[in-house]
Structure formats: structure tokens, C-alpha cells
Symmetry: C2
Subunit: 663 residues, 2 copies
């Protein structure tokens, strides 16, 4: 997971005999795409055509669907340019520049601690980002690498007009469903094509990946350029214990119950199943990922390895008087911080991060309510999501035409409020004050039933009307956001000043210590920024001794099909079976180091030609959040040949095929 400014050129040359030039790296970077909502993608034609996973645009597909026309079930293909449909919420980013701003940030925070440190850092970020983002088409993020050992300013071209070109049926995109998720052998066509537009016209993208004729083959060198979301490979032992013993179990229990609730909600009827699908998918996916992470951390051998890595760093620091003077107290501080974090995290998550308020209406209401108040402050003083550099994204979210389903909102909000009360306890001061004599369902009903925030026009009026309009509104969801605002802000401030600030400071010093001892020979933890990974097509041996070969073939999908979800093939596949070459590779695995956020990443060869499309990792790779093990961690992709075969013989998507052949 290497950053492009510190690409592992010599490591790649040493291991695979391939020497990447700066031009090669620049072109790979500019052909890579980030989907701001949390996925990766790539330009695959000169006309702004973007390839990513189906599950990365599933929200868009669901938002464009109605009770009458369900693109999730039936798939979507724009036969002409005019039929390409705008995705309500998608934002695509292209990384144009990386700048080191470590000095600027450190100068701004020098000597500070607690709330003052936090405020100063936030102000420095906002200032740097604003100075860089010269227009709404440019997005700039300060990125914290090595937990603050380095700060880099990432500058992106921002594309907010992104349209859906092609998506297959959910049944083949996610064939095998949750049971097969993170598993291999696998048979998914988890692909979609979208297109970036600018000023109403398809974006010109001279930098884009080509298409390999042969596709991936055993042993072949594969590159992945994408945006791994988050790893915690460099954190201290007490923080690992916090995740293992407290945080992951907490999240797992929350998500399990949420899943049970939504699964049962889906039995109310076909329409309810349709509207719950997107949430359910994302919950099940997280659930499985967190399970894998927890299982890795409770593996005694793995955890002992992490502890010994930490001890080695400590020893090196303590044996050097200069390092010891700078970093010697870090371990004690981390140990002392951990129980404090446990005590504070749940109120912060439930009340301020909105975990107890699972409702799109609520989150829009909160943004609408807070925006005018925040805009009265200087850019550097605002809550970070209201900084100038973030406003285009916020505006797009608030004005999204995506439908909101009150029936689902009611169940989600009632349930999550119940969880809030349960996990904070009926006697928590906020719980007593907020619930009073009201039940969770009563609060949810009161806020949702009469709310008009499900109308985009109403939201636009409030957004444009600013403080006066918001103050004059009697919308009950807005009232709910207002009701908890003072407490939520106080809880956030306390968490940021007492916990986050200390954690960042410890992380920064630890990052500097790591950096002082090991330099950049160790890649920084993932931060949902562009990283390059190199690897090869290769199977692995499971813990139970079974050897897994690296490829599956299209015919395997037909063998695995039962005719019942989640093992049901779409009709289009059944109809096309005779025309298909069943021997063509379908999915495959590589040794590339990836993690959640890498979904949709291109897999390409030395000539920067697409050989596959990342859509998953194997179950063993989930532990990659805490450490990469090349012996059994595998990235899972759709083979480029299966993509061509399906576009051609099943979907007759000639327009896309022609475009992929253009250079």
C-alpha cells in the first residue's frame, strides 16, 4: 500500500524485475479514480468511462430504481449516450498533486496539547485545504500519514456529474451473496461502468488504462492502484487490545442485531425487501469484515507478533538517549489513554456520530440545522465537515434526488434509539434528558411522520434560506436535530479535546518514532488515499490444508447455481449459456495487499492494461487491517476476459466494448 510519491520502485525491480518509470507512475495515478463515498475505480477510455464494482454504485442503482422499474434486479444498460442517467450522490476524484505540508502543520501546533492542539491542527488543515481548493472543481484534503509522522496535501479534480452507463443484475454482481462474500472460489460479475461529465459533456481522459488481450495469468505480475480505506498496522498494543476486546465486539453486536432487524423487515414484502437491500448489503459486508478482523486479533500467534513488533520499537527507542527523550513516555501514555477512550467512545458515537440516529432524514436535518451557525464562523473555526473545502460535497448530499422511504426510516430510527438507550444506559444524563417519558418509537414517529425533508425542494429552500429559514421551520426532524444539538456538540468537543487530541498526539509521536527508526521502508497505514500495490496471480493453502487454485471459470457459476437466492443466476445468463465460452476465467486471486476501499480498483499489467477488477479479498485478508500476510492474504478480482465475454454475449453492450478498444 505505497503512496505514489514514495512508490516501491526498487522493491518491485528486486522482486519482479520490473522498473517503473516516473511517467509510468504518473499515468497510472492519473488513470486511477476515487469515488468519494468510499470506493476505487479507473478511467478505461478517453471519454471519461469509469470502471468500478457494482457494489460501489449499488446506492445509485437503488436510487434510480422505483417500485415499477428495479435496476437492481434487472440491471441497467444505456444503449445511447442520452440514456446515461445521473447518479444522485456519486463524486469521482482524480489525484492531480501531492504536496508535503508536514512543516506547516507542525509549526501551527508546536507545543500545544488538548483542545488547543486540536483546534490549531484543525485550523491548519482548513487553511491549507482552502488555499489549495481554488474552485468547486478542485478538492483538497490534508492526509495524515504514519499517524502524523507526515502530513501531505492531496489535490484532486472533482467530478460531481457522474452517470450510470452499465450495471448487471444484482444476482450475478453478488452471486453467492453473504455466504460467499470474502470467500473463494467465487463467481461474481461485480462490475459497473459510469462516466464522468463536465459541463454536460463526457470528460476527456487522455490518461486511462488500456485493456489486456490475454488478461491475468498464473504467476503474472499484477498492479493495483486504489484507495484502501483504513488499516491499523502501526498502532500500539493497548489500542489493539481496545479493538480486540471492546470496539470490534461492540460493533459486531450492533451490526448483527441491525441485520436481524432488516432481514425481518424485508419479509414484509417485495418493495420492503427492495428498499432495505442497500443497507443490508453494507451491514452484512461490514459484519463479515469485522468478524475477520476480530478473529485475526484473537489469534494468539498473530497478536504475539504484533506485541513483539511493538516491543522491538520500544527497545530501539529506549536504547537511543535522543529517541528516548522524545518518545520514551509514549507507551505509558497509550496505556493510560485506552480506558479513557472506552469510557467516552459510546456517547460520542451514538449521539454525535449519529449511530443512535439511523435515519437519512436526521442526518440531512442536522446538516441543515448546523450549516447556518457554522457559516457564521471563520473557516478554520468550523466543525471540519463545514469547512469551505467540504461544502460542494455537503451541498450535493443535501440536494440529492435519491428517494427516502419513511417506512424504513421509522424502523431504523426506532431501533437505533433503543440501542442508544441500551448501550449508554437508562440512567445516562443525556438519555434521561432526551427520552424523558418518551419511547424510542414515539420519538422516531414524531420526527419522521410529519417531516417534509424527504422533499428535495424543501431541503433546497432551507439551504438557500439560511438561518432565517431554518429558524422559521417547524419541521419535526429539524426540531429533533435542534433538540440534541447543544449536548451533541458538547460531547463531541469533550471527545475531541480529551481523547482524539491525545490519541493524535500519541499517534504523531509514534509515527515520528517509527519514521526515525525505520524511515519510509514501511508503508504508512491506509487512509483512503491512492496507493499502489504490486503482486502476482497465485493461489494459497487454507488453514485446513486445502489448496486453492487461483482461477475459477464461467462454467463454475452455472454449476454452483441452485435457482434460489443468493445462488440464483439472472435469466440473461441462463438464456446466454449456450453462447458462452464456459472455460473463460471468471474470478481470480492475487497476492496484492488490499483492504476495504480498494473495491473497484483496476488490476493491470506492466503495460498499464486492465487484466482484472478488484472486488473483494479472501477471508484471510481481513486480518490485513492489522498486518499483511503474503502467505494467505489474497485479493479477489473479476477476470478481464469474463468482463468482455459477458458484455458481448450476455448484455450485447457493443457501445462499451467499442469504447474499451479505443486508445
Amino acid at each position: 500500500m505505497w503512496t505514489y510519491d514514495n512508490a516501491p520502485v526498487s522493491k518491485m525491480a528486486q522482486k519482479y524485475g520490473f522498473k517503473a518509470t516516473q511517467d509510468w507512475l504518473d499515468k497510472a495515478r492519473l488513470s486511477s479514480v476515487r469515488l468519494a463515498q468510499g470506493c476505487s475505480a479507473s478511467f478505461v477510455s478517453p471519454d471519461g468511462l469509469i470502471m468500478t464494482n457494482h457494489h460501489c454504485v449499488a446506492s445509485c442503482v437503488q436510487q434510480l430504481s422505483t417500485k415499477e422499474k428495479d435496476y437492481h434486479a434487472d440491471g441497467f444498460y444505456a444503449r445511447t449516450a442520452e440514456e446515461e442517467k445521473k447518479c444522485p450522490d456519486l463524486e469521482a476524484n482524480q489525484l492531480s498533486e501531492i504536496k508535503d505540508v508536514t512543516k506547516e502543520v507542525n509549526a501551527a501546533t508546536k507545543g500545544l496539547t488538548g483542545g488547543a492542539l486540536n483546534d490549531a491542527r484543525k485550523a491548519a488543515f482548513a487553511k491549507l485545504e482552502k488555499g489549495c481548493a481554488t474552485s468547486d472543481d478542485v478538492r483538497c484534503d490534508v492526509v495524515t500519514l504514519y499517524s502524523g509522522g507526515l502530513y501531505h496535501l492531496y489535490k484532486y479534480q472533482r467530478y460531481q456529474d457522474v452517470r450510470l452507463v452499465f450495471a448487471p443484475e444484482f444476482r450475478i454482481a453478488f452471486f453467492g451473496g453473504d455466504p460467499d462474500n470474502f470467500m473463494f472460489p467465487r463467481y461474481d460479475l461485480d462490475v459497473s461502468f459510469i462516466r464522468a461529465y463536465t459541463k454536460g459533456q463526457p470528460l476527456k481522459t487522455p490518461n486511462h488504462f488500456g485493456w489486456s488481450q490475454a488478461g491475468a495469468s498464473t504467476g503474472g505480475l499484477t498492479f493495483v492502484s486504489g484507495h484502501p480505506g483504513s488499516t491499523r498496522r502501526l498502532i500500539s498494543t493497548p489500542m489493539l487490545e481496545y479493538e480486540r476486546d471492546f470496539f470490534l465486539p461492540h460493533r459486531l453486536l450492533f451490526l448483527s442485531e441491525y441485520r436481524g432487524m432488516l432481514t425481518q423487515f424485508s419479509t414484509r414484502g417485495a418493495e420492503q425487501a427492495r428498499i432495505a437491500l442497500d443497507d443490508l448489503f453494507s451491514i452484512e459486508n461490514s459484519l463479515k469484515a469485522f468478524k475477520g478482523q476480530r478473529e485475526t486479533l484473537v489469534d494468539k500467534k498473530f497478536f504475539a507478533m504484533k506485541v513483539s513488533e511493538d516491543r522491538e520499537l520500544r527497545k530501539k527507542v529506549e536504547s537511543d538517549p535522543k529517541l528516548k527523550a522524545r518518545f520514551g513516555t509514549l507507551w505509558k501514555e497509550a496505556e493510560e489513554l485506552e480506558p479513557k477512550k472506552r469510557a467516552r467512545i459510546l456517547p460520542y458515537r451514538y449521539i454525535e456520530m449519529g449511530v443512535g440516529f439511523q435515519s437519512d432524514l436526521f442526518h440531512m436535518a442536522r446538516s441543515l440545522f448546523r450549516l447556518p451557525a457554522e457559516m457564521e464562523k471563520a473557516n478554520e473555526k468550523r466543525l471540519k465537515e463545514f469547512a469551505d473545502a467540504r461544502l460542494p460535497e455537503l451541498r450535493a448530499q443535501l440536494l440529492s434526488p435519491a428517494p427516502i422511504y419513511k417506512e424504513l426510516e421509522l424502523e431504523k430510527l426506532s431501533w437505533s434509539l433503543t440501542k442508544l438507550r441500551e448501550d449508554l444506559g437508562a440512567d445516562h444524563p443525556f438519555v434521561r434528558k432526551f427520552f424523558g417519558k418518551r419511547s424510542p418509537r414515539e420519538i422516531a414517529q414524531g420526527a419522521i411522520e410529519g417531516s417534509k425533508l424527504d422533499s428535495m425542494d424543501v431541503r433546497r429552500q432551507l439551504l438557500d434560506g439560511g438561518k432565517t429559514a431554518v429558524a422559521a421551520s417547524t419541521d419535526p426532524m429539524l426540531a429533533l436535530a435542534k433538540e440534541i444539538d447543544v449536548d451533541a456538540r458538547a460531547i463531541r468537543k469533550q471527545f475531541e479535546d480529551e481523547i482524539e487530541s491525545a490519541e493524535t498526539r500519541i499517534g504523531e509521536l509514534r509515527g515520528q518514532a517509527l519514521f526515525a527508526v525505520y524511515g519510509t521502508s514501511m508503508a504508512p497505514d491506509a487512509t483512503f488515499t491512492l496507493r499502489l500495490s504490486y503482486g502476482a496471480v497465485k493461489g494459497w493453502t487454507r488453514a485446513d490444508g486445502v489448496k486453492i487454485s487461483p482461477f475459477t471459470i464461467i462454467g463454475g457459476a452455472f454449476e454452483r447455481a441452485t435457482g434460489r437466492d443468493p445462488f440464483q443466476l439472472p435469466q440473461s445468463w441462463l438464456d446466454a449459456k449456450d453462447k458462452l465460452n464456459l472455460q473463460i476465467p471468471m474470478n481470480f486471486v492475487t497476492t496484492n495487499d488490499i483492504i476495504g476501499g480498494n473495491s473497484g480498483s483496476p488490476m493491470f499489467n506492466q503495460n498499464r492494461e486492465i487484466v482484472g477488477l478488484i472486488f473483494d479479498g479472501n477471508i484471510e485478508s481481513l486480518g490485513g487491517a492489522y498486518g499483511f500476510d503474503e502467505s494467505n492474504n489474497r485479493a479477489v478480482g473479476v477476470h478481464s476476459s469474463a468482463l468482455i465475454e459477458a458484455l458481448d454475449k450476455i448484455y450485447g453492450a457493443k457501445r462499451i466494448l467499442q469504447e474499451l478498444r479505443k486508445h
Copy 2:
């Protein structure tokens, strides 16, 4: 948690200056009652009146209720003897004799291992139990103490005609609901009265507890005589790790999702909420209990203490050549067994223990299907639940008139089959064979919709008709039980022979080692058999420093009430408020060592007079599964004065009050 044959007479004398006589012990034992389904209780009048918790008879209350008459919501009171209603499934046991049979069991299993050891032990148990249970009114269980350091034969009088006399409304029995469960301060009237009958007449019970005028008071000595279900205080470190890292997390995730599913099912309507309530209560209760257990085990200090206890035992064994020769390899064996157990436990639980088949119809079908085949074998060779000594209980279960709700059955079975498939994996041989092309819901629908096993008459015909009737039946649920039977039996046999047998052997040797080193100065782990605990009324200091005083008062319930579930008081309480003495103690805590299974236990003073009724433990006490900490583990009870006040002024239950005053 002392057995009555090894009562802590000198410890009690030393700590509290009370010397229990044998007569005192015998009378306390004979006044104690076990409810075979998993609770404790006590005789409180000479005419078979039994006091226990509301939640111990909640199933009965729900089974006696209908859509039209909901005793769960409205409470139940039999104003005359004729109005007492038979509980479909309740069985009450009174412990009449304890006999040491260690020699007999050890002689039967000497020198054996694996399947042979298992078979021999099972046969020895069945033989001893059959020899003891001379009629259906007598129940005999061989009890494994110190994991097999001792075997005792417990002989009970068995009462299968148990009738409901009084139950308050669910809202006050479980006031505060899940949020307040395992919490204190608390305001619950978790009581019910039932009555044992024999030959159609109330049972004569000369041995019964009296009633204290004063009730419990601060510092007062309290005894609890009840049936703690299960503790694992003496197990080895690898088994503790198995529970902490694998088994408890697995159960927690299962139950969380189950809870979400049933909570959402309950939103379908009032009737659905009613029929799901009993399952939901038990799931939420287990969930909170397991959470507490897991949290205790991940407490680093606690776990280190357990590890050091284990090390001490090992050191003592290894420093004595004779002990070393007998027990020296135990630790290595335990360590080697643990991963094997992990690998085998899930198929065993899901398929044979029925975790994947959450359906009352299925469990009855399986018993009906297996019974004739098992009855063809000699008593000692049968699956243990079909041994002669167990048949009366099995018969009562199969002929229970309790209603079965197919709507709920369908959701539970569909969901649990989905879990089975998920946790074993879509490629597990049983999963492939059993599901074939069918979806979980399809299997559940097929088995439930056409089944007639919800009719007690149909079950009786199959039971009486034996092998021929079962073979001739085309009932689809019976067909499902038959379909998986060969595989399920094979999985059970493998688990019992390879895992359980080794675990018991290790446990036995460990028990003998403990016994050799410490003697009976350490109470054996709980086994849902009668135990005596002594303690005192005493508050505690929470981890966050808050001091909790030991009593609440009736008035507190009115203060805590919000008018919304689960903090809604029943109308009867609101109506009676002016008549009540609000200063009377409501609930209180003591230092008695209890655990799940103790629910419904009498709390009594040195004169064997009731001073309270156990219904819960505080959250800290949940760790008691692994070790008792007198500094903060507390038993929670209803005060005897609150019981009298409510029976008198709210429920006008004169008949019960008069009976409680009889001696």
C-alpha cells in the same frame, strides 16, 4: 454454592456466628424446589404453594393466554382453588436424597478412552438412574461434581401437575425491561405463585419456609437455597480462552441477530408481539448474561488471576511425584483439545443440538421420530434423553397443550437455517447435501405449512402408535427430522467420542487433581443442583466510584415510571398508589453467590423465614460464571414486605396471604 451434603457449617459459624444443625439443613433442603425447565423455587405453605419468579413461569402464562385473554399483560389470580390452571410444561422437583456413586462410575469406566469411555459412562449413568427411579414420581440424576472428581446420585420427588395461582402483570414483573435487567437500583415484582398437586389434590408440604415479619434488613444474614445452573470456575486456561475468544462471541452474535429479527417481527402487530415475547425475553436475558461473562473474561486483571490459579495448581501437581504421574499431562492435553473443539462444535450445535432448527415443531418431530428407534435399544445404549428415567419429562413435553404459532415458527426456522448455512459455510458437506437447491425459507415453509404436529392429538397418536405410526406418517416436519437424522446422529457421535469424551476425561482428572490438592474446601462448579449460599444484605461500590445502597422502596417505581414500555407501571399499581406505603422496601441486594438457575430461589433468615425472593444479579455478578468476587457481585431480590404489600393492597390476594400465614 455449597452442596447440602457438604454444607459450609463451620465457615458460616466462623463468618456469621450461625451454627446450622442437620435438622435445619434437612428442612431447608426439603422446602426448596427445582423447576425442571431451569429455575428455583420454594414451598411457602403446608398445602404445596410454591413461590418463584414471574419469569420462571412466563412460558406457562403465555401458553395459558390467548389472543382474547392475555394473562401476560393483565396478570392472573385464582380467587378459588378451582380457578388454579395447570401449567402445560412445568415440572417441580424436591430433593429427597443424595448418594455418592463415584466408585460405581469409576469402576465402569476404568481404563477406557474415546467412544468406549463415553458409552461406558453413559451406560453407568442410565443404570444408576433407572435403579433409583422406581416410579414416574421419582426422578434420579447422576450429577458430575468437580468435573468428575465426584459423581453423586440425586433423587427427587417429581411433580408434573403444577398449577398457576398468581402472576402479576408483566409490566411490573419486569419493570425496566431489558435496559434495567441485571441492573440495580431496581423496582420489579418478579414473583409468581404456583401449586404442586398430586392425584388431583394439593400436595401436603409439612416442610416449607415460614415468612419473616421484618424481612431483610441491612447487614442481616441471608441464605439462598437454589439451583445455580452452570459455572466454569474450575476449568483450564485453554477452555477459558475458548469461551472468551470463540464461544461467547459466537453465541453473542447469534443471539443479537435473533433479537433484531424478533424485535422487528413484533412490529407486525400486537398479536405477533405477544407470541414473540417469551422468546424475546429469554434471548435478551441470555444476551446480557453472555455479554457480562465476556466482559469479565476480557478483563486483563481477572484473566490473569485465573491463569495464576491454574499455574498454582499445576505447580502443586508437578512438585509432587505421585500427583505428577497421575495428572502431569493434563495441561498439554487441554491445550491440544481446544482447537479440535473449535473445529467440531458448530456442526454439532447447529445440526444435532438444533440451534439451526429453531422450531418447536421440529424438536417435537425429532423426538417423535427418534423415540421408537431408541426404545428398541437397551436402556443403557440409548441417546441419553431417551433413557427410561427421562421418559416422563419427554412425554410431558410432547403432550403439552401449549399453542404453537406457525407464523412465528416460519420466521424462526427460516432465519436459523440461514445461520446454519452461514456459519458452517455453503460448501460444508451437510449444507450442500441438505440444502441442495432449496433456500432456507423454502425448507421451512415446506416443513411447517403442511405439518399437523401443532395438534396435541396428532402427537399423541404418533407417540402411542410407535414405530408403525411414525413410519406411516407423511407429516412434512417429521420428514424433515427423518431427512437429517443419519447425519445428525453421526455428527453427535463424532462430537461425543472425539471431543466430549476427551473433555470429560480431562475434566475428571482435573477435578481429581483439584480435589487431591484442595479437597472439598472449594465448592464444586454449579450443575443445576441444589446449593446453599450464605451472605448478607450489603451495597457495593461501582467501578466508576458510585456507592450503591442495598435497598430501593416502592415509591421509587412510581418515580422511575414514564408511562411508556418498558418503564410503564400497570394500571393496578397506578390505581392503588394512594393506598400503598411507598416507603416499604421493594428490591434489595445481598452478597449471596448466585447465578442463572437461581432465579426464584428463596432468601431466608436463620429461622428459615422468607425475607426475600431472588430474581436477578447485578451486572458485576455475571462474571460469577468464572469466579465469585464478594466485593461487587450481588444477588438481587424482591423484598418480602413488598410482596405482602402488593398482594394485599394491589391484588387483593387474600387467599394467598392467609396461606402464607399458616404454619
